[in-house]
Subunit: 432 residues, 2 copies
Amino acid sequence: MTDQSTPEATSPNSPSAVSAPTTPDAPARAGLSRRQLLGTAGATGLVFGAAGAAVGYTTAPADATPLTSLGAKRAMFHGKHQPGIVDPPQARGHLIAFDLAPGAGRKEAAALLRRWSTTAERLMAGEPAPHDDTGIALDAGPSSLTITFGFGRSFFDRTGLQKQRPGALEPLPDFSSDRLDKARSDGDLWVQIGANDALVAFHALRALQKDAGGAARVRWQMNGFNRSPGATAHPMTTRNLMGQVDGTRNPKPSDPDFEQRVFVPADGEPAWMANGSYAVVRRIRMLLDEWEKLSLAQQENVIGRRKSDGAPLSGGTETTEMDLEKTGKDGSYVIPVNAHARITRPDQNGGAAMLRRPFSYHDGFDADGTPDAGLLFICWQADPLRGFIPVQRKLDRGDALSPYIRHEASGLFAVPGGAAKGEYVGQRLLEG
Amino acid sequence: MTDQSTPEATSPNSPSAVSAPTTPDAPARAGLSRRQLLGTAGATGLVFGAAGAAVGYTTAPADATPLTSLGAKRAMFHGKHQPGIVDPPQARGHLIAFDLAPGAGRKEAAALLRRWSTTAERLMAGEPAPHDDTGIALDAGPSSLTITFGFGRSFFDRTGLQKQRPGALEPLPDFSSDRLDKARSDGDLWVQIGANDALVAFHALRALQKDAGGAARVRWQMNGFNRSPGATAHPMTTRNLMGQVDGTRNPKPSDPDFEQRVFVPADGEPAWMANGSYAVVRRIRMLLDEWEKLSLAQQENVIGRRKSDGAPLSGGTETTEMDLEKTGKDGSYVIPVNAHARITRPDQNGGAAMLRRPFSYHDGFDADGTPDAGLLFICWQADPLRGFIPVQRKLDRGDALSPYIRHEASGLFAVPGGAAKGEYVGQRLLEG
């Protein structure tokens, strides 16, 4: 058991002390677990607004020790952008879409986003939910929890806000490999939850579902995972369930055009989407039984990269530029013309680029033993027309990977910029 | 991202160097990732038996850095007992049951257990599978992977080994709260996989499924999770999805009667079960919507313990003995007569005790928004007639928790002792 203590000052940690710059994965301010926070509250009579009183945990013991490193990591709720976009992908993820309930409109949606924002801020700080906390995350630290909110196209009809609907929310085109389940696609509202502890993530999921109350109903919900922090010596590299190194060419925050590619400009349109981003969500099932019948060489030709380390078949290491013109002894391209990596390369797509931040998923086996597993593909871009759509169109015409995957669900969501202190996510839309 | 490096000597790590005493969660021998191992193999021309050659990863780069602590932790395959019983519960778990294929009998089962044992030994050491490795766990360390094999009652009919069937495998009695799905219950063979990295766990699941080949078919499969190492400052305490501290009274390896309660004696019956254990597996759905409608006081009366810290309602801390006779001002017991903790207390059940080592599960939401979530209850005992059965009978007659849970699947498996070096799990049964 890793037990890397990070003792820090035990300054009072009230909600008003929670503000901070957007520092992904900053250590929790005081290195305190929920139990410690509650213990302090009990000893001093302090409560966190309604939280301590509502939950009633005034009897927590004083024997708590400082949080270990994984639990103590904390992402910030307030900031220029919402959390969960640039933050490192977490080990556990929940995606959930809601539809507004019959009779609920703009007013109820605004109240819901306000409740959700309050809850998200507290939970990301490692505190209990404002009301009727379930206790599932007690003892645990924030564990890099992020909560991200988005609006689907149908939201604007339901709330009478059609004039505020971004052009970027036009429905995605049909692709030939789509086998979309409409019941698990789209939705008025979308929430992405990520955390490095599965109980912290589930705690957030239930708290947000409760907040929805009578205002919104669950439309679909999916669970995913990524590598655990510390499981590999290569923290920048992730693999998918096909065993491929995944995300090598992802734009990096240090790239000069990163902000421009991923986020709507501060003076962009519509104004309420300033510093926001668009998320394309696709449940991509991997046909693993078929994929695993291929030889290693066949798999590498499908992708255009070596499986061992992700280096292009034209040579070098994972980060070496592909040599698309390189030919083998027989005169054919070393990286086949239909190789996935060739087709998705930004300079082959008019510079289209998106930030991929997926989770893998595994929902058991079908009755015949086929795994229901693959990728909860999530990509982020300033404009889907210059990100996902052109790349997917090109893949649709000749990606060697196509026979081994199946797009089973799809969503496109407008994710507004981060909430300022005292503001809730989407306030500029709902009260604009 | 936690990046606690644990540089260690880089001694050659061939399969023959993998033997070791049963030391749960011992650091991996040389602190090497799969990639490093493969890189070394590539540089020196060494391969791990058939593995390196079959996988063909001879081009791995030399830039690998030492594994971080979570990935480097390693449990041992060989030993007195199988792994995955006394080892700390891992963050990710897979349960899978197989039925032997039509026409497959004792011979095919023996060959399968031999394949599975070879694969389990390699994977638990952080090496690739012996054949056609999928690559899903490349880069990652063992991550405390454990793989445990068991036999169900039907296995003995299918293999003509009825005379070797333990009396302890008599079918469990029916309980009034059972709503069992037969398709997700029982099975000829049962495998438990646990790891602190979800990709390492899935890699093992697929490798074992492939090993089954034409000899056995998946009957059912379930996924679970526990708290991540380091998420909480209280590593000994876990919580379930009801928010309760769970497992407080679990027997501890330091207890004088621990071995006797959990494991079949070395001279026990049948002889092939020496040092083995019996696993009862129950998929227990939690009716969370109903549970969460209760007040904190109501929840605590159902359990008999405080939610905040797991202390008995009669006072003290989590580890304080319950005072079952203590009464309140109105003369009634402070710990109600039907409180879950009262009914399950070993001294109220003729000393019955079992080692609970569950995973939580969450398989999404039903169409009406109800979470399909709860506990993959797994308990270990030397004899189910003195462990699970008497406790469950008593719970069945008046547990205050009953209205909030539903047993949806059930299995009982004979888990033989650990394999000695050169032996496979179950060999003493299948070649006895």
